[in-house]
């Protein structure tokens, strides 16, 4: 196997699972998450000579997010015309109590709010990087995260309703 391929294999081993988990947090569907991660890896491999030395993981994430966005558009069209019904295998997290409430609330967030929250709090990415990945200004990321957390607070009830928001508006790196 050539050097390029070996290097990609290492990258694949390091990043595929992380991409798949990111895909699941965006879609609630492990099968779709796997496809997203596969697609992201395929596109990254196709561009390997260009991205191998610079932010390749970020490139793969960006591809996954773009692909997810296009799947969302397609899903909207499919729902509108009720043409396609895809069987799904459900592997739900085993949550109960407030965690289940929060998980369900997260699922109900608009896609961009949810993506921003996942990137910000699951991957712990700085707001500037989230902005780059989502293709929006940093201010929009702040807004998406702020509004998303506000909705989650609403769902969780009084215990979080009065909590401040300072921690998600930190200075840019």
């Amino acid at each position: 196997m050539a050097g390029d391929d070996r290097e990609f294999l290492d990258f694949f081993a390091d990043e595929f699972w992380s991409l798949r988990r990111l895909g699941f947090l965006l879609t609630d569907d492990w099968g779709e998450a796997e496809e997203l991660a596969q697609d992201a890896m395929t596109r990254t491999f196709a561009a390997w000579s260009r991205v191998r030395h610079k932010q390749r993981a970020a490139y793969a994430r960006k591809v996954l997010l773009n692909r997810h966005r296009s799947l969302l558009r397609r899903a909207v069209v499919e729902a509108r015309h009720a043409l396609i019904s895809r069987p799904q295998e459900w592997h739900e997290p085993d949550f109960g109590g407030d965690d289940l409430v929060l998980w369900q609330a997260l699922q109900r967030l608009p896609a961009r709010q949810r993506a921003a929250i996942v990137l910000r709090y699951y991957l712990d990415l700085p707001e500037a990087e989230v902005a780059r990945l989502l293709g929006v200004p940093v201010g929009t990321v702040k807004s998406l995260v702020h509004r998303g957390l506000a909705r989650l607070r609403e769902w969780l009830g009084a215990a979080y309703a009065a909590e401040g928001l300072t921690s998600n508006t930190e200075a840019e790196p």
């Binding site: 390029d4 699941f24 492990w30 030395h53 949550f95 997260l106 989650l152």
Partner: protein, 389 residues
């Protein structure tokens, strides 16, 4: 616990118990990539040899030109999928690559019982899905025509020896297979190419089989006559507002890092179907626009094809680098000391212009050279030319 910490914990817990994979994602990624035009031409098994050569301390040796090999008694393989027929020696073993249906491998009799990846010499034929000529730029490139008239480029590197290792070499024919519509899988109408790579893990196998590999390549023919890959010249000429130049920020290196390749394309914008024959010029200049003392500067090349069919495509946020309108320039000995920082300006007939930043010197941020390769000032002239040569 703050809402942020709560969300962090929840997201981590949500993916803590992952179900097993449904498929084989690595196979999927590699297979898909090999079918894409961006694939460096490369059939992985042959690239093993390329990697060895690329990282070697080079000790080039003169090799005799390939001699003629009689094809009497050779077998014939006809592949309708690849729109290809070729002949090979009757005692050579033919295999399809595992999990690949668009490549076949030939190995000599003494390697017939070995796994493919342990063969000491092999010829790999990658059946053309799209058009991809001249992507192999690692070694010495020559061009010519096959006995049946198809134009080809041949890139050969080696055999080279490293200390403690045997010499190895490889080569690739990229052959213009003409314009036709595929009849399998994704329907694609346009120009196609066929890649035939060969490699030997030692000087002895190289010397013994190189001419056989050349002869196999020269027996390859399309199953039916194809239209010229340059497209339909009877169409109206494209207007300047129907296309634009694009540069996908793609740099490539060859010849141990001494060759910098700049490549871009032509994107369709609007208007009725048309034909475009587009001369292009690359000027290597300083920031004030003065030409740098590089032999061949400015360089020229020409691309030709039909719009909208052959226009460069953008998928999932990145350009698909292939097709009739891929233009390329090669700058040899590009890191020569004493040259001021350069700007690369590509100009098309009609005035369209692209300005591309200079390639980065080794050791500087953004330098595109892979690890193990360094561009060095070898005291040789710096030259620029359209690619393929």
């Amino acid at each position: 616990m703050s809402i942020e910490d709560r969300v962090r914990q929840l997201l981590t817990d949500a993916v803590a118990n992952e179900p097993p994979l449904r498929g084989a994602p690595l196979d999927y990624a590699l297979r898909r990539r090999r079918r894409r035009p961006l694939v460096a031409g490369a059939v992985a098994l042959t690239l093993v040899l390329a990697a060895v050569v690329a990282l070697a301390a080079v000790q080039p040796r003169q090799r005799p030109l390939p001699s003629t090999v009689s094809t009497n008694g050779w077998k014939t393989l006809t592949d309708a999928t690849g729109h290809l027929r070729f002949r090979y020696p009757p005692d050579w073993a033919l295999q399809r690559l595992p999990k690949e249906d668009d490549a076949v491998v030939l190995v000599p009799p003494e390697d017939a019982d070995r796994p493919i990846d342990q063969a000491r010499f092999r010829v790999t034929i990658l059946l053309g899905e799209t058009f991809w000529i001249g992507e192999m730029w690692s070694g010495t490139t020559t061009k010519g025509r096959m006995p049946n008239g198809q134009a080809y480029l041949l890139d050969v590197q080696g055999p080279t020896a490293t200390q403690g290792n045997q010499a190895s070499g490889y080569g690739t024919y990229s052959i213009d297979w003409g314009r036709y519509c595929t009849s399998h899988g994704r329907r694609y109408c346009g120009p196609h190419s066929v890649l035939i790579s060969f490699g030997g893990s030692s000087s002895s196998t190289w010397d013994r089989y190189r001419s056989v590999a050349d002869t196999i390549a020269r027996t390859a023919t399309p199953l039916r006559p194809t239209d010229p890959s340059v497209g339909d010249r009877s169409r109206p000429t494209c207007r300047p507002d129907q296309w634009r130049l694009v540069w996908p920020e793609e740099h490539a290196m060859g010849n141990q890092g001494q060759r910098f390749v700049l490549q871009g394309g032509v994107q369709y914008r609007q208007g009725p179907p048309c034909h475009l024959r587009l001369p292009l010029r690359l000027a290597v200049q300083d920031k004030a626009g003065r030409p740098l003392p590089v032999a061949g500067n400015p360089a020229t090349t020409t691309v030709e094809g039909d719009l909208p069919e052959d226009g460069m495509q953008r998928r999932y946020g990145s350009w698909v680098i292939d097709g009739a309108f891929m233009w390329r320039f090669a700058w040899e000995e590009w890191c020569k000391q004493g040259l001021p920082r350069a700007t690369l300006q590509v100009t098309a007939a009609g005035g369209a212009t692209l300005t591309v930043p200079e390639p980065r010197l080794p050791g500087t941020r953004g330098n595109p050279l892979p690890a193990g390769l360094t561009c060095q000032d070898r005291g040789q002239p710096s030259t620029v030319a359209g690619w393929p040569p």
